[in-house]
Symmetry: C2
DNA sequence: AAATTGCAAGTAAGTACTCACACATGATTT
DNA sequence: AAATCATGTGTGAGTACTTACTTGCAATTT
C-alpha cells in the first residue's frame, strides 16, 4: 500500500464519517488527500470500492474488541467487559465507528453479524449465572451497548460512566 | 394545502425514508408525485424546505405519543406505557420514523429535545417508586426504547414482544 | 382582473468516472 | 553496459450525465 493510497483512505474516512457517503464527492476526497481524482479510481475502481476498502480495514478493529471479550472465561467478568466496551474504544477510531453507524442507516449495511459471537458469549455467560432468559438478556445488553455508543458518537450529554455504574449494580458485578 | 402539495410530501417521505435525503433527487420526488419538478420549488422553496415541511408535519405524531404517556398519573403504568411505545406506533407511520432515525445520522438532526418531557416524566415515576438514581433509570429506559425502535425499523429479527416482557419483569410491572 | 397553481424547457455547477500521457523502477534482451 | 520492455504509480483534462434550482408562460381559481 503506497503513501498516497493511505492518504486517500484517511481522507475518505474523515469525510464519509462527517458528511456521509452520498454527500461526499470523489473530488472532495481527492482534494483533502492531496492527489488527483483519477488516482482514486485507479486504486479502488469506483467510489463503492473505496468504501469497501475502508470497511474491510476497519472490520479488524471490531474483531479485536469482540475477541478480547469473548475469550473471557469468567461470566461476570465477561458481562462487565461488555458493558465497559463503549468507553474502551480509542478516540482516534471515532471516525470509523461513526461511519459504521451512519452506514447502517444510509446504506442499510448490517454489522449485526459481526456481533453474533459476542451475543453467543453473552448468552452463555447469563446461562452459567442461571438467568431465566439468557438469550434475551444478551440481546438486551447489546441493545444498551448500541444505544450508549450512538449517544457517545453523537456527542450527547449522557453521563456514560454513571450509566455503567448503574448497570454494574443491576447485574451485581 | 393543495392535492399536489400533499402528493409531493407523500412521495418525498417515501423516498427520503427509503433512499435517504442526499440520495433522493428532486426529480425523483417529482416523478413519483406525478408533478413537474418546478412545482416542488414553487411550494417549498428548496429541497431543504421540503424536508422541513415533512418534519414539521410529523413532529405532531411524536408529540401525540409522548403526551399520552406523560399524562399517566400512576408511575408503574407510565413506565409500562413507555416500554410498550415501540409496538404502539402505526404501521403506516413507519416511513416517518425511519426517516427520523436516518436523519439523526445523515444530517445530525437531534430529536432528543422532543423526548425531554418524557425523560422528566420517567425520572419522576422512578422517584415515586423510590429508585436510587431516577434520572439515570429514565435515561436507561430511553436508551432501551431507542434501541428496540431502531432494530424494529431496520427489520432486525429481534423478538420485540419477548424483549418487552423481559423489561416488564425487570421493572416489576 | 388579480392572484395562485402548474408546466416545460431551460441553466450553471457538480457528479462519478475515463483516458491519453508522463515518469519511475526493475527485469530482460541485445 | 546500453537499450528495450513491462509494469505500477500518478496526473489533469475531458466525458456524459445528474444535480438543485430558475424562468417565462399558460391555465385555473378567486
Amino acid at each position: 500500500m503506497t503513501e498516497k493510497q493511505e492518504k486517500i483512505l484517511q481522507a475518505a474516512l474523515i469525510l464519509f464519517a462527517k458528511e456521509g457517503f452520498h454527500a461526499t464527492s470523489t473530488s472532495k476526497v481527492a482534494k483533502l488527500a492531496g492527489v488527483s481524482e483519477g488516482l482514486i479510481f485507479r486504486h479502488f475502481g469506483n467510489k463503492d470500492g473505496l468504501l469497501q476498502a475502508i470497511l474491510e480495514f476497519g472490520a479488524e478493529k471490531l474483531k479485536d474488541l469482540v475477541v478480547d471479550i469473548v475469550m473471557e472465561p469468567d461470566p461476570k467478568e465477561l458481562i462487565k467487559k461488555t458493558i465497559q466496551m463503549p468507553v474502551n474504544v480509542d478516540k482516534e477510531d471515532f471516525d470509523f465507528w461513526k461511519l459504521q453507524f451512519k452506514l447502517k442507516w444510509e446504506l442499510e449495511v448490517n454489522s449485526d453479524k459481526k456481533m453474533e459471537p459476542l451475543h453467543m458469549a453473552l448468552a452463555n455467560a447469563f446461562r452459567k449465572l442461571e438467568y431465566e432468559s439468557p438469550e434475551l438478556e444478551a440481546s438486551l445488553i447489546l441493545l444498551y451497548i448500541e444505544g450508549i455508543s450512538s449517544s457517545m458518537l453523537k456527542g450527547s450529554n449522557l453521563n456514560v460512566n454513571d450509566m455503567i455504574q448503574l448497570l454494574m449494580k443491576k447485574y451485581e458485578l
